[in-house]
């Protein structure tokens, strides 16, 4: 583990064409890292994420993505992701290849990736139309003969997650809703973790997930780095921003203007937050 600024970590660890998983299930979404990918104009990324959310709406709208692997592409509690829709419906700003799964399928694919198994297995993808449009197959249980769904394991080049704390040695702790971050990190070749705070030592939290330093390539301090998502014990979800994003993202020009002002023209997460106030 190396403690480095976020721009250095992204520059050294994420390449054009990489398969990247930014995870955080509604909580601890790594927005600061997503913004840095946009500032550094990464291209042709295969983006994996269960709920693409605003973070991928921004990456897709700014032309960073070639392919999206996902299971639910909406603005939670609000409605559509307009940049995602524009890419799928009108190939703007570029065509977006989709590999679509269900949540259960994505979760099984991450768990298989973490276990270095070639596929995850579940009871799913039955009867509906998705199976004929995605990468899924059936396997027969060798003991009972039951037909089960097999999803190919996620094996990202890079996982990026946001956590509340790292200690001075780079051990990381996540608490609250912990989503699929542990599996995403273990499934990936490289891992970047942004954190709210660096502390002298971690205090175990109920339900906390600890990622040891030796699992992580870079730990980057990024206070407020989940906004508009939240960091349990630090700050709340900015529900008003999720609602506002609907009109910001609906129009191509307004979206680009917003991204330039708040992401491209800011150097880091601190300046991003200042730009929202100013």
């Amino acid at each position: 583990m190396e403690r480095v600024p976020l721009d250095v970590a992204i520059s050294e660890l994420v390449r054009d064409g990489d398969t990247v998983a930014l995870e955080g299930f509604t909580h601890l979404i790594p927005h600061a890292a997503g913004h840095e990918l946009i500032r550094q104009a990464r291209r042709d990324l295969t983006l994996i994420r269960m709920t693409p959310d605003i973070v991928y709406d921004q990456l897709i709208g700014m032309g960073c993505a070639r392919k999206l692997v996902f299971s639910w592409g909406g603005n939670p509690g609000v409605g559509s992701l307009h940049r995602f829709r524009d890419a799928v419906e009108h190939a703007h700003p570029a065509p977006l290849e989709l590999e679509e799964h269900s949540h259960a399928g994505m979760a099984a694919a991450y768990a298989a990736g973490a276990a270095k198994l070639p596929f995850g297995v579940l009871r799913g993808y039955q009867g509906g139309h998705l199976a004929s449009h995605t990468r899924v197959a059936t396997v027969k249980c060798p003991f009972t003969g039951e037909e089960l769904a097999a999803v190919p394991a996620h094996q990202p080049d890079v996982a990026i997650v946001h956590a509340q704390q790292a200690d001075r040695n780079g051990n990381v702790q996540i608490w609250g809703i912990t989503g699929v971050q542990k599996e995403a990190v273990l499934a990936s070749k490289r891992a970047i973790v942004t954190v709210e705070e660096i502390v002298d030592s971690l205090t175990p939290r109920p339900g906390g997930v600890v990622l040891p330093a030796w699992l992580i390539d870079a730990v980057c301090l990024a206070p407020g780095g989940a906004h508009p998502s939240y960091a349990h014990s630090y700050y709340d979800r900015d529900n008003a921003f999720y609602i506002a994003w609907d009109s910001i993202s609906r129009d191509r020009d307004r979206f680009r203007e917003w991204m330039h002002r708040h992401v491209c023209k800011t150097a880091n997460v601190t300046e991003y937050h200042a730009s929202l106030v100013g």
Partner: protein, 231 residues
């Protein structure tokens, strides 16, 4: 308190279907509203499970997203997403699911993926999320959606979720239940004529021999519902 909105009628009727002790997989929006109403009225021991991993959440105010911090703070336990889907849902620990959709057909199959063709959609919808496996993991699936010929269609553009376990569809006009697998109008909400429901359905809707009238929301139901929304 006089009068109520169609949405309130839907939420109240959906809440009534939940029994005390049910373990219910809840989505955001009307399902979350109805489940919390049930918990605050006749079903205080109803267990609310949100797919973010919060099991037994007891939120004071209605969450905007399935991952609001309030859900984690009030939950019996918070589990990872893979654990949620593998151990709890697939493991058969959740008996009721609560879903909405963009389209439904007469068999209760649901579309939340695309309007138009999958590869060239006129409208790309969010997709299935947890729904496909919720529908096969629970014993009983409740569906809530507003009824119109655009939502109640003869043929889905895409089958996201199979309707085999649908036990009731609650709309702004009435209540449909499967009879021999086919959704059939069994009740209309107060003031709604069965003919209006037939006209709001994109297939030749079957009517039960005696279409009931839904009991109007009681004072306690409405005041609790409105208090939940005002928080």
């Amino acid at each position: 308190m006089s009068g109520w909105t169609p949405d309130e009628m839907m939420a109240v009727e959906a809440a009534r279907r939940l029994k005390n002790g049910d373990v219910c997989f809840v989505g955001i929006g009307l399902p979350s509203l109805a489940a919390n109403l049930a918990r605050h009225t006749h079903a205080p021991d109803c267990v609310l499970v949100y797919e973010s991993g919060t099991i037994g959440a007891k939120p004071d105010r209605l969450p905007l997203s399935i991952g609001d911090g309030d859900l984690a703070e009030t939950a019996d336990t918070v589990v990872s997403v893979p654990e949620m889907f593998a151990y709890w849902l697939q493991g058969g620990r959740i008996n009721v699911g609560f879903l909405g959709a963009a389209q439904i057909d007469r068999w209760g199959n649901l579309n939340s993926t695309v309007i138009g063709k999958y590869d060239t959609p006129s409208t790309r919808l969010p997709g299935g999320g947890g729904a496909p496996e919720i529908a096969i993991g629970v014993e009983s699936l409740f569906v809530t959606l507003r009824q119109s010929p655009r939502t109640f269609v003869d043929a889905l553009d895409f089958t996201t979720t199979v309707g085999r376990s649908v036990s009731v569809v609650i709309t702004d006009l009435g209540i449909l239940e499967p009879v021999g697998g086919e959704l059939t109008l069994v009740a209309v909400h107060p003031g709604v004529k069965p003919r209006a429901v037939v006209e709001a359905t994109g297939w030749q809707l079957r009517l039960a021999p005696n279409v009931r009238e839904t009991a109007p929301p009681r004072h306690e139901e409405l005041s609790t519902l409105r208090a939940l929304q005002a928080r």
